[in-house]
Symmetry: C2
Subunit: 364 residues, 2 copies
């Protein structure tokens, strides 16, 4: 058999801190993160929004695509993209973050996509509200959950499945879920779910099912692979887990100065440096304060007002940079009192690591 | 000093085969590759085209941006984006590949972006021809090279510089270089060089300078860092090197079947499988043949005609897949007789690895 240089297929690769397997780098090459310097912008440029796709991107035809409402609905129906675009439209800026963001900082590291800070982005999504469509399809009285199934198909832990997730009827009523066909004013791109996806604002990205083909009403809780087997906080491998839902409070800064190409060291001239960043929390909860740590002292940043319920807030801080080596950190607290930890929270699969960002800079 | 989990700053990290450093994964998270399944499409979807940026993306204002023609020109001038858009426009599909594509397959591995196969893409670029602009600026008689300088700035090997490259006057006459302001029918995105870049068709991507600010005429060869220190084929570290220019002949296939999420194993049902892929060579040279290897036998694929001089050609192959484990390979030969090697060509920095792609599949 020919040696394949890029597919070692180890299911139990090395996950030593700071050393990564071929399979992890394969995932890092395939999935893509935000460029942190674009945190300066309210809306992440198209193509810079983070992207995490479990399986291959299905290349679907918008002209023939149908969204099926099925299962325990009294009035099931199908909609074309044109049907959906004819419904009342809404455009909403939403900050989305991958539940695995920060995984590479959780030790010991779980074998999966080795995100550091970059699995986040804010786009303007255009679509129509989901709740009226569910109402129109009229769930039977004993319906408890609604499932969302994508056209993306593959294996995980040996189990073949279409990517699928569910929400309870109560969650659909509470959350401003959209059925979306456009992103930043243009039709959805294939890699972001074209021609149709949902956006579940304020939740981690796994809830926002792409390539949406079917919405199904269930009379018992959904047991799909991506609902019960993966996106759960677990203390050990066999733990049933706690479902991952709302995004944890977090902040990031644009790394100041200029980088070295390969090591990504940052070089900053001494003097006044305008630090700039973003902060966000789950469920549309506003940020109350962002602090920047410089030389072991936490100082309050200037925080912009919340403009859009589900979009991040901008913060700035004027730093008088003195020559030497510095580690800058930032942390946010939301109005509910949730604050970013300084050390990564523990989770068996490295989910939802919202520890304060560290940025190492050299001031000359 | 606070421990920064993601910036180890080793200039000499481990580059053992199949084991990667934090810094390499940082680069892989930051730069992004094509999703191989989109090789089915003539034009790579916006946001899926590979992206390799040496430094931070400059966020420039198209309204005030100027392109300066300076140096040894008899009639130097400046152009706004509006000026350039008023010139005769041309749209050209161009297959671009990063010179570092395949680096992770070259052993021992050079510490840089650990590309496997994914640093390639085809976009439709819109702009105006460079040659008439150079003619209009009227180079002095002793001019030998024209340099292109971007707004992206940073350090490499301790040397701070704006990214810059050059072409000789002869090369500019021979190559269909465009000054580009649109990609796939939309204004250039920040990460692809907005508001202005050049496209040097048929050459590796380093020549296609982004965030273009200055075109300068020189009376001696350009000695910019990215011209003489980096993009050179070298047999050892202190070798002067041979400049990297035209893309080497290459082919890739869409990995058939469906993947396993984390290992990227491919699962294919037995029976007829339509393999599909692309092949390209440098300088607009057409592909003559693509072959697919199955069970140690090389068989000829169906190759589509070359439609656009600088864009890849499609190929297909109908495979009768039999149960078991297979390694598929593909290789192309261009009409000049250049053929892909089966083993990676050696280069000190892992440049231009065009060895035949291996795809490991499990047929059930």
């Amino acid at each position: 058999m020919i040696k394949n240089p890029f597919q070692p297929y180890s299911d139990k690769p090395t996950t030593v801190d700071g050393i990564y397997s071929q399979a992890e780098v394969g995932l890092a090459n395939r999935n893509s993160g935000i460029l942190l310097e674009t945190l300066a912008l309210d809306v992440t440029p198209t193509g810079v929004h983070y992207l995490l796709n479990h399986f291959d991107v299905p290349l679907l035809d918008a002209a023939t695509h149908r969204l099926e409402f099925s299962g325990s609905f009294k009035a099931p129906f199908e909609l074309s993209i044109a049907d959906i675009m004819a419904l009342p439209a809404e455009t909403m800026p939403v900050t989305m973050e991958c539940a695995g963001n920060g995984r590479a900082g959780v030790s010991p590291r779980s074998h999966s996509m080795p995100w550091m800070y970059e699995a986040v982005g804010t786009s303007e999504w255009t679509g129509t509200k989901l709740a009226p469509l569910i109402e129109q399809a009229c769930p039977d009285d004993d319906v408890v959950e609604i499932t969302f199934t994508g056209a993306d198909y593959g294996y995980d832990m040996g189990e073949p499945h279409f990517f699928g997730r569910s929400l309870t009827l109560a969650q659909i009523k509470e959350l401003d879920v959209l059925v979306v066909y456009a992103m930043n004013g243009a039709p959805l791109l294939p890699q972001h779910g074209a021609p149709l996806r949902i956006i579940v604002p304020g939740w981690y990205g796994m809830a926002s099912v792409k390539w949406l083909t079917r919405i199904e009403a269930l009379t018992k809780p959904y047991d799909g692979h991506q609902q019960v087997k993966t996106y759960q906080f677990r203390t050990h491998k066999d733990d049933v887990g706690i479902p991952i839902q709302e995004i944890r409070v977090k902040s990031l800064m644009v790394p100041p100065g200029v980088p070295d190409w390969s090591t990504r060291k940052r070089f900053v001239p001494s003097g006044e440096v305008d630090l700039i960043g973003r902060a966000w929390s789950g469920g549309g909860v506003p940020i109350e304060i962002v602090e920047v740590e410089i030389a072991n002292e936490w100082r309050t940043a200037i925080l912009s007002e919340k403009k859009d319920r589900y979009a991040w807030q901008k913060w700035t801080f004027s730093w008088q940079a003195e020559p030497g080596e510095h580690v800058l950190r930032c942390r946010a607290r939301d109005v509910n009192g949730n604050v970013q930890p300084l050390d990564p929270p523990w989770d068996q699969a490295g989910f939802a690591n919202n520890a304060a960002q560290c940025v190492h800079v050299f001031v000359k």
